[in-house]
């Protein structure tokens, strides 16, 4: 979690999501290493689920292929066993609640700690359930539970979410499943009004797909999360290394030039 907190002091953070087990079962550590080498600041490793109901067609498809390839949570932890020998950037697991529940929440947290995972994002584990049943377990294993905030989240609820957080808030750019709409739905005024006085920094995700939307998001927040268009980028022909590199440099080089960030 310290790793995560240190990184979050910076701006223009590029956080990349990919689905573990896609395109090939054993690509996980290679993708992570290539992402770090290409300049990604953080990584979200997706745990595939049979019924990813907050995801659009691209991540649905990558999840389906990953499961057909034989991906499981057990195997993922196996693949991540030695990841901290080479990788220093923050790593976060993202997945739906049921596989975690079947694995055992406490065992899951223990395995995350063992592997050097800094946080988790579980979109269908709502705030109240988390606070009532799981917060103490997550904290015991120093695993940050990163909570989502949507354009429809009320001011009062946002405050509660902020209080339950301990690293960053994941703002969803628009009322949308992943990869469906573009850029920010809220006006800047409204958005800045909402985040004023929060304890934790914000990263923006769901509608971010290219240099433009990334730069725009960075004007609002400490950085942004790209998933769908990265999955698309590694789906085509070519060497994984090159595909990762080309994609990251199409976003990050440009972004670093934009230092008109308001933050």
């Amino acid at each position: 979690m310290t790793r995560l907190k240190n990184t979050l002091t910076k701006k223009d953070l590029l956080n990349i999501y990919f689905t573990a087990g896609y395109p090939n079962l054993n690509d996980t550590s290679r993708i992570i290493e290539e992402l770090q080498a290409s300049g990604a600041d953080m990584i979200e490793i997706g745990i595939p689920f049979s019924d990813p109901l907050a995801d659009g067609p691209v991540i649905q498809q990558s999840s389906k292929v990953a499961l057909e390839n034989g991906m499981t949570l057990n195997l993922l932890f196996e693949q991540l066993k030695d990841i901290r020998k080479h990788v220093t950037i923050p790593l976060v697991l993202m997945g739906y609640f049921n596989p975690v529940l079947q694995f055992g929440v406490e065992k899951f947290c223990a395995k995350c700690k063992e592997a050097g995972i800094d946080g988790v994002i579980i979109p269908d584990l709502p705030l109240d359930e988390y606070l009532e049943r799981y917060q103490s377990i997550f904290e015991e294993y120093e695993l940050s539970n990163i909570l989502l905030v949507s354009p429809g989240t009320s001011a009062e609820r946002l405050k509660k979410i902020d209080e339950a957080s301990n690293s960053f808030l994941y703002f969803v750019s628009s009322n949308s499943t992943t990869g469906n709409k573009n850029g920010m739905q809220e006006s800047k005024e409204n958005y800045f009004h909402r985040i004023k006085g929060l304890n934790y920094p914000v990263l923006i995700g769901f509608g971010i797909k290219d240099r433009n939307t990334f730069e725009e998001a960075c004007k609002y927040a400490n950085g942004a999360i790209i998933g769908t268009s990265f999955i698309n980028a590694i789906s085509g022909e070519g060497l994984l290394k090159e595909k990762v590199n080309t994609f990251i440099s199409s976003i990050k080089d440009q972004a670093q030039l934009t230092h008109n960030s308001i933050l």
């Binding site: 109901l53 907050a54 609640f97 049921n98 529940l101 989502l148 989240t153 499943t177």
Partner: protein, 401 residues
């Protein structure tokens, strides 16, 4: 004395260990809006009046309770059929859609979405949307669209857009995923009319309340016909569990009444092609609800199988999971073959062609022992028009043997 149990939903949205609202934050505002308002609205006198007027004049309620003489003779007992098949649109589903469309109107929603398996809930939703002049989009698994084609045509005729769900097994589970995704993308103007006692709280409780009119009427009708409001058995099929929840509701606290939930065993409980969740399921979270689900060890939801599209779901609602855990209801499973056999038999004995879903409830009669004095109330959840093709195929196959 038995200890009195609580079968109802608690303030956190749970039936015992099951239920809750595992919604992504994107849906929280909508689900919370429903949760804050549903009881208040449902209990308003003006809502109740509109609801009951429509049930009476539009749906044709109360649905009759019919003494099935020849069937009773066969089982040497007293079988009463609750005729939900005689409702407008041919099944119990419309009790819920009438309730939810009135609620959606009160909440100012301009667009309705729904999932459907057999197409009965889709038709019932398209019907109330036509009635109220509201836009309607129905998600239906591609496989189900093929096996329930007449219902697809009916929905289209009623002005609904039917969108095929192409993911997974292309059945009810996948249609539900697509409907939830639609809702996430259209939260401002859309109400999602869920068709069974599944999904996030308050849906299971809300749908059960709308369906509870079934057992409310049954009590009065039984009193009239048997001199006792309470039967010895209430039998109903369970997909998600809405017709069973409605048929059980007003008997939950009865000491006399045994509740029997009938699940689809598909090609056999352990054939790998089954929907017998109470046997094969484990607690988990799907469609924003913690309940019994068929799943792998790794927590991936497995595909259900039943010849009946309406029972082809890898879970049961949290209310039924609770009845199962507390043993308030007995669960029986019935194979495709047994359901087909029962459907053809009821057709011949009583002149009633039941829906394939309801045929499962009839097939359970064969697996039970009754006394001659028993009063057995069976919820005939729907009619079989939509299943004629399947029945004719089966009949021809039987003849060739």
């Amino acid at each position: 004395m038995k200890t009195k149990r609580n079968y109802y939903v608690n303030e956190k949205g749970y039936f015992g260990n099951f239920g809750g609202a595992f919604v992504p934050e994107l849906l929280y505002p909508n689900v919370d809006e429903l949760n804050q308002n549903y009881l208040k609205i449902i209990n308003e006198a003006s809502f109740q009046k509109k609801f009951h007027d429509l049930l009476k004049d539009y749906v044709g309620r109360p649905s009759p309770l019919y003494y099935a003489k020849r069937l009773s003779k066969k089982y040497n007992t007293n079988i009463y059929l609750k005729r939900e098949d005689l409702n407008h649109t041919g099944a119990h589903k419309i009790n819920n859609t009438i309730g939810q469309i009135l609620l959606a109107q009160r909440l100012g929603k301009k667009r309705i979405i729904a999932e459907t398996g057999a197409g009965q809930h889709g038709v019932a939703t398209a019907t109330v949307c036509a009635l109220m002049g509201i836009e309607c989009v129905v998600y239906m698994g591609k496989v189900d669209m093929q096996r329930q084609l007449p219902n697809v045509e009916r929905m289209r005729l009623l002005g609904a857009t039917v969108v095929p769900a192409l993911s997974g097994s292309q059945t009810l589970k996948d249609a539900t995923n697509e409907a939830i995704r639609d809702w996430i993308n259209n939260i401002d103007n859309t109400h999602y009319i869920i068709g069974s006692v599944v999904g996030p709280h308050p849906y299971p409780d809300m749908v059960m309340q709308f369906q509870s009119v079934i057992s409310e009427e049954m009590r009065k009708q039984l009193l009239e016909k048997t001199g006792n409001e309470e039967p010895d058995y209430v039998i109903a099929c369970v997909g998600g569990g809405s017709n069973a929840a409605g048929a059980f509701y007003h008997f939950l606290e009865s000491e006399r009444t045994k509740l029997v939930a009938v699940e689809a065993a598909g090609e056999g409980i352990h054939s790998g092609k089954s929907a017998a969740t109470s046997v094969l399921g484990k607690i988990g979270v799907l469609h924003a609800c913690k309940t019994l689900l068929m799943q792998t060890e790794d927590g991936q939801i497995t595909e259900a199988h039943s010849i009946s599209a309406g029972l082809d779901y890898p879970g049961i609602g949290p209310f039924h999971a609770h009845l199962h855990e507390t043993r308030r209801a007995e669960f029986i499973s019935v194979t495709d073959e047994e359901a087909l056999g029962a459907a053809l038999e009821v057709t011949k004995l009583e002149g009633i062609i039941p829906a394939l879903e309801s045929a499962h409830a009839f097939a359970a009669l064969d697996k039970m022992k009754f006394k001659t004095t028993d009063v057995v109330a069976l919820n005939l959840s729907g009619r079989g028009d939509k299943d004629l093709e399947t029945y004719i195929k089966h009949l021809n196959a039987v003849k060739q043997h």
